[in-house]
Symmetry: C2
Subunit: 426 residues, 2 copies
């Protein structure tokens, strides 16, 4: 038996698939229980087709999706074009044509995933997307198949390679945000418009998908608070180090008694936290649960081969089932009603970076203010920063989001004090 | 539908199963597609049965395995007694009675796994054992299901919690082996006879099982070279630190062009290696491959709840298939002929700890000796250690095992030099 696949797009990830099918052909065939063959490649236009043929690629290149939709020999369609349209339409059409679909398109899945999954179910086919979250780290299938007996209480993820590369440079080398961005661009890690990466949008897409697998709930993309790394200064980085922390952009999902909550924010991580040593473009997902307790899954968040490997693993999973004539299980079968946590239930420590005149009694003012909110200090570091100014860095004990909002407002309104930054502490 | 399970043994791990089935009952039932119920518990004797009943445990306790073997309502038998016998006999009988079996018994699997798997196949049932390797880390299922498209070239594992706890104390606090062992015993991490843990035997069991999942080959337990941590001195730890390394007991499996090789040995890990921060009783498996490149799976290697969670995850996987009336897939379907690497193909760096008289020309002697073997130095550190004696620590460049053996012999025979220790460097 041979399973025929069609690929949509011939970009970075897609062009890594033939390499794997060839290099690991024997193992892949043995694992899938059948040969896997690329039947068709959808490319943009005739010019791209001619160029690829001229480069010696010997595939059947097509420029019209109907050539794939109407081909009954094709069992699996792999979408690797990216963006919302026409990917959304093509995936929908493929599912309606009773073809299983594999994609790595996190943007699309985070916003329209539920709709697409419904189309799949309605048509008796499935949609798999291991590569959509942290490219090479096999996290989704692990959550779906190995956490079945466990109850996850928290996910912490360093899930955007570009921003983590930049934060690593800012922490290890003391670089500014702009210096780190320039280097990330030079190395091709940052796109010409880096917004998605540095503002936490890309990470928020992944957090939406992780929330479905880890908690069985779908947090809407708009409900994932996201704040990027643009406002982190070398000063913050230095203070973090003095207080025993490193700063990273961390996506967090927690389940509290009242419900779940997710955000992507710069975060103070204790130096000995397992996530603190996840550096450069590497990604990791840290999972807290009542059974396993603490586990971490570390690996490349992107890259041609890692991402293509996850895509082909999905294809093999599908091929196994198709080969046996089984009804294929949905990628994720864990679903519950989505309930959001209340603000009172969201309890964290925070770093407050404050500047003020360097004179007696200033810290006392702040201490009174925190005391009035019933919040105490865990660590305080004060230093003169010249011009008779003092920098005060506070690591608080835990407070809920209402207390935090109230403190931020009060400090901001405190005569003679500037609240330079606040950052969550784990 | 209800799936009935029987548990053999009511020890640490087994007594964690009821907790999970209760605490996560709703999720487990949803994931399995069926209720899972403990039908019988095999205990040692009537005294244990009476004691457990007196403690309020409301299970059907039996003292004779045939009560389970002959019970047609039982689909799955979970062996959590440990040791070789009677576990081996009971598992064999359960498989012959067409019951699927789940176990965490690494000792048994490492030595008799192939035989037991054959009994399973012959009887149309399966044997799952996620918990046998690194208790709470879902590594085996991940290798079996997510590395299907990839080709693994190397596994590095910190897979024994007791020895890692001890090494962490020896590295972080400068403790001696004996001090670390005393503390491990006090905390209940080390058994009264710590041999299995400190001599790398327990780790070697896990390495045997990992070799099957990662490489599709079965390395015989006797063929896993293992050397424990007894001979590591505070001196070695300090020198490692000076040279930029930490020492850990690491299990390694490599595939080289000529074949595979496995060993469990104390290892110098560069301080920035992801495994270097795996501390205390935590475990981790670091995987190098041609697709994903580098990934690491970190978590608790033991403990009641983590281990029970892995056991129940296996049970859920089985229950899903039983519920659908499917033929269940073997836990690991990746198998190739086992071929061992040649010595020439095993190329590593090494640390040599040498003592000699503190006089001119001593290092030159050593340099000549290495040069004659065609091996160069990567780092050298020499210091006077009193009594006119010098300690010379060498980190070599790569050499094959023949060169290593020859160098060890030559240095040992070198008049006036003592080869105190050699340790592999990653
Ligand atoms: N790269 C990674 O490491 C990585 C990691 C995880 C997930 N992903 C996801 O994987 C997907 C692919 O990423 P990529 O890096 O491979 O992107 P890419 O290099 O930009 O490749 C996309 C390809 O699709 C083609 N394409 C776009 N629209 C098309 C259309 N209508 N018809 C035919 N071809 C079309 C593009 O052609 P043009 O060049 O002509 O536009 C391009 O060749 C994205 O969803 C991405 O988010 C990527
Ligand atoms: N503990 C962990 O964290 C962990 C992690 C990974 C894997 N494992 C594996 O899991 C298995 C169980 O470990 P464990 O820590 O739970 O061991 P344990 O606490 O010693 O429990 C074993 C239980 O089985 C009982 N037993 C032994 N032989 C029996 C027999 N013939 N009939 C009835 N009961 C019998 C023992 O009773 P007695 O006390 O009377 O001997 C004991 O209660 C072992 O294979 C171990 O290697 C354990």
């Amino acid at each position: 038996m041979t399973i025929n696949i069609a690929l949509l797009g011939f970009g970075t990830v897609a062009s890594g698939i033939p390499f794997l099918l060839k290099e690991n052909g024997e193992k892949i065939t043995a694992q899938a229980g059948t040969d896997i063959q690329i039947a068709k490649f959808l490319v943009r236009d005739d010019a791209e087709k001619q160029a690829l043929l001229a480069q010696g690629h010997q595939y059947e290149f097509v420029t019209d999706i109907t050539a794939i939709l109407n081909d009954d020999t094709i069992d699996i369609v792999i979408e690797l074009m990216g963006r919302i349209e026409p990917a959304k339409t093509f995936i929908t059409q493929a599912l309606q044509a009773k073809k299983h679909v594999v994609t790595a398109n996190k943007d699309l899945l985070a916003v329209h995933g539920s709709d697409l999954l419904k189309v799949a179910t309605d048509n008796g086919v499935v949609l798999y997307y291991e590569a959509a979250v942290t490219g090479g780290i096999p996290i989704l299938r692990t959550l779906a198949n190995s956490y079945t007996a466990d109850k996850i209480t928290k996910i912490l993820g360093v899930v955007n390679g570009t921003s983590n590369f930049m934060m690593t440079k800012m922490v290890d080398e003391g670089w500014t945000y702009d210096e780190a961005l320039a280097e990330a661009s030079r190395l091709g890690y940052a796109e010409s418009d880096p917004t998605n990466d540095v503002d936490g949008i890309d990470a928020a897409y992944k957090i939406v998908i992780l929330s479905q697998f880890a908690f069985g709930m779908t947090i809407k993309f708009e409900d994932v608070r996201h704040e990027g790394i643009r406002n982190i200064t070398p000063e913050d980085v230095k203070l973090a180090q003095k207080l025993g922390f490193v700063i990273k952009l961390v996506g967090e999902i927690v389940e509290r008694p009242s419900g779940i909550y997710a955000e992507v924010v710069p975060t103070f991580l204790p130096k000995n936290h397992q996530l603190a040593t996840v550096n450069g473009v590497m990604n990791a997902v840290f999972v807290e649960s009542i059974g396993i307790n603490e586990a971490m899954f570390y690996g490349p968040g992107a890259g041609q081969k890692p991402t293509a490997t996850s895509v082909v693993a999905d294809v093999i999973e599908l091929a196994k089932g198709i080969d046996k004539g089984e009804v294929l299980p949905a990628f994720n079968t864990f679903t519950r009603e989505t309930v959001y946590a209340t603000k009172e239930d969201l309890v964290d420590k925070y770093y407050f970076a404050i500047e003020t005149e360097d004179k007696a009694g200033q810290l006392l003012h702040l201490a009174e203010l925190f005391h009035a909110e019933n919040v105490s200090f865990e660590q305080v570091f004060q230093e003169n920063i010249g011009d008779d100014r003092a920098s005060i860095a506070i690591i608080s004990h835990k407070m809920d989001l209402n207390q935090f909002d109230s403190l931020v407002e009060k400090i901001s309104n405190l005569e003679g004090f500037t609240l330079r930054n606040t950052i969550k502490v784990i």
